[in-house]
């Protein structure tokens, strides 16, 4: 039981005391300081690459648990406002550290993916997510494999949802990606590969044909 919830929520990177806090928050949210819990999660997500891609799940569970137990949304409210602050400061973050910047993007996208409102994505996050992806599609970011990798990861995970929320912006984003692929000379070959794959992925209705799958992933062992 202990290990499986660690696995499920990917909280191994937290110290033991914090892990305990998080587990209590999942079971009995009313008994903990939910603002503190959300801060702990946000802080970790902005630094830890693995956790930033997975934090959405634990957040969702805590939000549901709190709503059910106390009809409150202290956790969600604080989480979103912290996220908003981090988002506002994204350009400085990017300048300071690429790793923190990609963590931020992964985290926002993961929250968008998991924290639904009545099974619908949060509309308030649509534009901020697009803003992040557009930033990653700028030529200075495309030079950087880490940023391209982050970009295509997010599009794999939430591209279809984003497109449904706003087709026009997705079209514009992909225009930039096409241009980058074709025209940008300082792209690494890995960068180009990643871009080509995502272009095909979207063209295939957000899935890869079998032949394309073989082409891009035949080297990858299960």
């Amino acid at each position: 039981m202990e290990n499986s919830s660690k696995e499920e929520y990917k909280i191994q990177s937290f110290d033991l005391e914090t892990q305990k806090l998080l587990k209590t928050a999942l079971k009995d949210p009313g008994s903990v300081d939910l603002e503190k819990v959300s801060n702990v999660i946000v802080d970790q997500s902005l630094e830890d690459q693995i956790f930033s891609r997975e934090a959405g799940r634990i957040c969702y569970t805590i939000v549901q648990a709190e709503a059910k137990q106390t009809n409150g949304n202290v956790f969600r409210r604080n989480l979103l406002n912290r996220l908003q602050q981090a988002f506002k400061a994204r350009e400085e973050t990017r300048k300071r550290s690429t790793q923190e910047w990609v963590c931020l993007v992964s985290f926002i996208c993961n929250i968008f993916d998991y924290l639904k409102v009545n099974n619908m994505p949060m509309m308030a996050l649509v534009q901020p997510v697009y803003d992040c992806l557009f930033r990653l599609a700028q030529s200075d970011a495309l030079q950087n494999e880490e940023e391209v990798d982050c970009l295509v990861l997010q599009l794999h995970r939430i591209g279809d949802q984003l497109e449904k929320m706003n087709m026009q912006l997705m079209d514009e984003l992909f225009s930039l990606l096409r241009d980058g692929f074709l025209l940008q000379e300082d792209l690494s070959s890995m960068g180009r590969l990643l871009l080509l794959e995502i272009l095909e992925f979207r063209a295939g209705g957000w899935s890869l044909s079998e032949t394309a799958q073989k082409y891009y992933y035949s080297e990858v062992t299960d």
């Binding site: 409210r77 979103l80 406002n81 908003q84 409102v117 009545n118 308030a124 929320m165 706003n166």
Partner: protein
């Protein structure tokens, strides 16, 4: 007596959700008529929340598919909460329409005769609205939902639903959440909410009995205030002169008999007690603008009751 003054002093404060608040002076907040004598419409004032919604300016990156422009100033916590209320209301509306349709065209063997009413709150087939009579204005539904949420977000409501399960609730006896999908005037709806919340106070945790009393008296004062307005209106409110004896006599009699019905045998002493109490009430509501009128009334009323 000072206790009366203190007890009702809070009534003078402007309550943001009081529809009749208008004008700068505390006196004017009570008025049904403006200074020129014309009737004020009680519900012309929009809630502050609604104003900001209707005057929202589009953000530079409003997306075509988004359901409405989003204010730049809001934080994400607030925005998502607002989304949630809205989508809950939309979901409720779908469910409600389906239920109404089912009531009109029963899909199963369920008998729904015109006289019976389903046990579900939102479906009284007795009063089942025709499809056109469902409240469908989203802004209204959201406002009503927020009012319902305030009521449900109380200890009293929690205790109530735990104590009285749905199948044991009796109409008229137990508080019933107003149905936001039925067509009601703004005033009617606000009154229903008020009464519902007052009823819920019966389940307040024991430590808060004091509040109970205040809440109930708040309602009573409303009645008194309404009536008092008519008194004020008939007079010349701007001039400090007492009004003519005939008019004030009639008015004073009317106030007195309606607010404090007088039993046949009553000493003039007790009448004057009531009247002092009432005078303090009026001075309070009128924010100190009243004394000169009061003196005028006092004289005339005392005279009137000497004759009883």
């Amino acid at each position: 007596t000072m206790s009366a003054h203190q007890k009702y002093r809070y009534e003078n404060d402007c309550k943001p959700d009081e529809n009749r608040n208008k004008g700068a002076s505390r006196w004017s907040q009570c008025r049904k008529r403006g200074a020129d004598g014309s009737l004020r419409t009680s519900h012309a004032v929009e809630e502050p929340g609604k104003c900001s919604q209707s005057s929202r300016r589009p953000e530079s990156f409003t997306t075509p598919e988004s359901e409405g422009p989003v204010s730049r100033v809001k934080n994400w916590g607030d925005e998502v909460e607002a989304e949630e209320v809205r989508s809950n209301v939309q979901r409720d509306a779908h469910r409600y329409r389906r239920r109404i349709l089912e009531a009109d065209f029963p899909q199963r063997d369920r008998k729904i005769s015109s006289g019976s009413s389903d046990s579900r709150d939102s479906r009284d087939s007795k009063e089942s609205p025709a499809k056109g009579d469902i409240e469908s204005d989203e802004a209204t539904l959201i406002r009503r939902q927020k009012q319902i949420n305030y009521g449900k977000n109380t200890l009293a409501y929690d205790r109530y639903i735990k104590e009285i399960p749905k199948h044991l609730r009796q109409p008229g006896v137990h508080p019933k959440t107003p149905n936001k999908f039925k067509k009601y005037s703004r005033r009617s709806w606000d009154q229903q909410i008020k009464l519902w919340r007052v009823k819920l106070h019966a389940w307040d945790p024991p430590a808060e009995e004091g509040n109970d009393v205040q809440q109930i008296e708040e309602i009573d004062l409303g009645e008194i205030m309404d009536f008092e307005l008519d008194v004020e209106c008939s007079g010349d409110t701007e001039s400090p002169c007492p009004i003519s004896s005939g008019a004030s006599l009639a008015l004073a009699e009317v106030i007195f008999t309606i607010c404090y019905p007088i039993p046949s045998k009553i000493s003039s002493n007790s009448i004057s007690q009531y009247f002092h109490f009432f005078l303090f009430l009026m001075i309070d509501f009128c924010g100190g603008n009243f004394p000169c009128y009061v003196l005028g009334y006092t004289h005339f009323v005392y005279t009137a009751f000497d004759n009883f």
